[in-house]
Symmetry: C3
Subunit: 127 residues, 3 copies
């Protein structure tokens, strides 16, 4: 397992980690199979989406905010229940196929770390 | 890795690919373990849900449309940000257990390719 | 593959199964790699989120109910389409890394079985 450190800078932020995952893949020496990208946090997630146009990630953050408003009479005392929900909607882990040492992503796909309660220092685990 | 070609016919469409995955499983010769179903697109996803009653898939499409309206002042110039969001909500990949060469699905479960910006020619990757 | 039996007691319920998964992990004898947690139902899912404060899980259930109301003129005759949608939003399976026989979860993370159409007798499959 390899650990990547990430620093987020806003409350909600989709950070493109595709190149970081690729670099760790080389270090892991994985040739064929599956790479797992795992987020060990409960107010952040991981997803695959378009990374050619940064407006897509901006829209994703805005849509999620509309679906799950930050303020909404939640019980959890820390006040960040919306971030917990968004984390579960995106998911804590994903798998990508690997062939001949290369990440098999679709043409427009990138891997995004999804910060929902930043700014924070975060980790992503790769295996 | 095996590639399945799919043709969608509407903007939003849940296409049952359970039998296609089963057929590829045989070709892959996988006996025990996990099969991964991966969608290499950013406006389509994959999910497991009931495939006995087609009304369930119709309801899923309608509920997602209500949660993420197609028109909503998005930034992304192509105008299909709702489709990108729905793709991340369903996810790009899933895993199903395999025993003795058989897909281990629950009684009511089927695997659905989720089109959110059709009609298009699409691919699903199986491993 | 190991099967865990679960009994839910309410329509919507997030049941912490972290310790159950840990126990099965020992039985499976898995030392390093990935453990898969699979839910073979179409009105229940699985997610990772905070399990220190039970208010988080309560908030998650409430937020999902607001996003996908139980009553909403659905087509599916059984009347539980909202539960099907919530199942797809959470997902049917997840993977957690395993090192030296231990589940690699983040500090605050627990694994939750997500009941959306209880009370029912349910299963979770571990591999």
């Amino acid at each position: 397992m390899k650990k990547i450190s990430i620093q987020s800078h806003r409350r909600t932020e989709f950070i493109d980690i595709t190149d970081l995952v690729r670099a760790e893949l080389k270090d892991l020496g994985l040739r064929d199979g599956l790479v797992t990208v795992y987020v060990p946090h409960t107010t952040a997630g991981v997803t695959i989406n378009e990374h050619a146009d940064p407006d897509v990630a901006a829209d994703l953050g805005n849509i999620l905010e509309r679906m799950v408003p930050w303020e909404n009479h939640y019980r959890h005392g820390e006040g960040n229940s919306a971030a917990h929900m968004k984390a579960s909607l995106m998911g804590s882990s994903l798998q990508v196929l690997v062939e001949a040492g290369h990440l098999c992503l679709g043409t427009w796909q990138g891997i995004f770390f999804c910060e929902f309660d930043g700014p924070r220092s975060r980790e992503v685990w790769i295996q």
